[in-house]
Symmetry: C2
Subunit: 294 residues, 2 copies
Amino acid sequence: MTIILGGSGYIGRAIRRHFSAVGEPFRVVSRSEINYYDRDALLAAIRGMQAKFLVNAAGYTGKPNVDACEVDKANCLEGNAVLPGIIREACEAADLPWGHVSSGCIYSGRRPDGGGFTEDDPPNFSFRAGHCSFYSGTKALGEEILEGARNCYLWRLRIPFNHLDNPRNYLTKLLRYDRLLDAENSITHLDELARVCHECMTKDVPPGIYNVTNPGSITTREVVELIREHLAPEKEFRFFESEEEFMKLAAVTPRSNCVLDTRKLQAAGIEMTPVREAIVQALRDWKPEEVEAG
Amino acid sequence: MTIILGGSGYIGRAIRRHFSAVGEPFRVVSRSEINYYDRDALLAAIRGMQAKFLVNAAGYTGKPNVDACEVDKANCLEGNAVLPGIIREACEAADLPWGHVSSGCIYSGRRPDGGGFTEDDPPNFSFRAGHCSFYSGTKALGEEILEGARNCYLWRLRIPFNHLDNPRNYLTKLLRYDRLLDAENSITHLDELARVCHECMTKDVPPGIYNVTNPGSITTREVVELIREHLAPEKEFRFFESEEEFMKLAAVTPRSNCVLDTRKLQAAGIEMTPVREAIVQALRDWKPEEVEAG
């Protein structure tokens, strides 16, 4: 049985859906039920439930967007950097393999040689890099705190999307925002992330960091073209003229736009759909997300 | 009545001694008694005790020294950066003035113009500056999290010492370490820090950041000369040839050695003894610290 932390969040729900679909037994542990910010409480839960794996999908992303992290720094830091460290301690004490949903937003742009960032590249959009959002800074610190963690997967997600209309879905955001910033990104089909988590647990995948984005990269304008083609919304899409204009008019803190290299995951035997194809699939199946009450 | 958090630590005990000496009522709140890492639990305690002020002397310094922070990052981050944010939330909710024992170790060296760092200078030994120990990084994040905090004092301490022999006392360290690193520093007489805390509470001192170090600076070799003169120990003091040698042989993470400007505190009407004189006083009164059991 797998314990899922953060199971009622946007990422956690997708993981639950996938586990249910493939018949993987799991138990969502909520913070009100067990204070998993307390190492000993979490360790007791792991032992009491005889868990075989743990997935941490809990974290602090800021609502409605990362700008909110700039004004709630302590909670952001606790959720994204301290909590992974507490979970690590508990899992290592219980000798439990586990996975942490990390983020690729600790990078900006491309590598100097033009390639995507690999798992070995140090973050260039972090506190230590001297330029970042507070959110990205805390996610990078979270990865630093998990350096050398035993039997631990770090799944780096970026800009999640799938076929379910939801305020956290990248495609929904593009449909709803008044103006858009054109940028090139690697992005993650959420349901594929959930499948990757499950494959790491069940196949013989070496623990460590993995960039979990759909191979390739895509620009905002290209995604908008696909939306126009498949959803034909009545909306007129407008773009900011530059990142400077976007920062001036619409954002408090800088955003990570970056391209990741996905060959490590592929080399471990896990495939993901090329990014353009993954977006087209999501748009073809487009429908509202049904969220259970409570 | 003043609540003291971290009252059984090295800094907290000095504050307690001073408050007792001047008849200032206080109550030490321990984490086992009240989980003050929980905002609501702390807020309830503040209200229940009808506190008029709170002093946070809790933090994570690493034992025996800051190198230990490099291998216990989550707890270090929680104690030095998240906790101040939690206390801020509770104190602001209760409309309670309070003070946080911060650190001047978020700087290295001197200002480019040769002066000491003022309270307005951004840290240059922090995660955001790109070069620091993990400890200093967390202390700087703690200050960042307290930016704009209401009715909050940040007392920046550096390398505490007084007349009581103790493993945390700078003078004790110089007496016990096998080899020393020569460096120029601003340092803090711990009993004077305690007096400053009390004066901030009781005089009309504007809240904000204060460098609480004894005016001036002093090198390790100068302190050693004063120790030789006043304590005449049998020890032969040996020095590392360079910071490089020190880092190679004796340290895991770089140390902050820096000079602070103390005019802001002085302008607020609070005096501290010039650094050389403060050391001489401590050495003249030198004796073992008696620590209560429990």
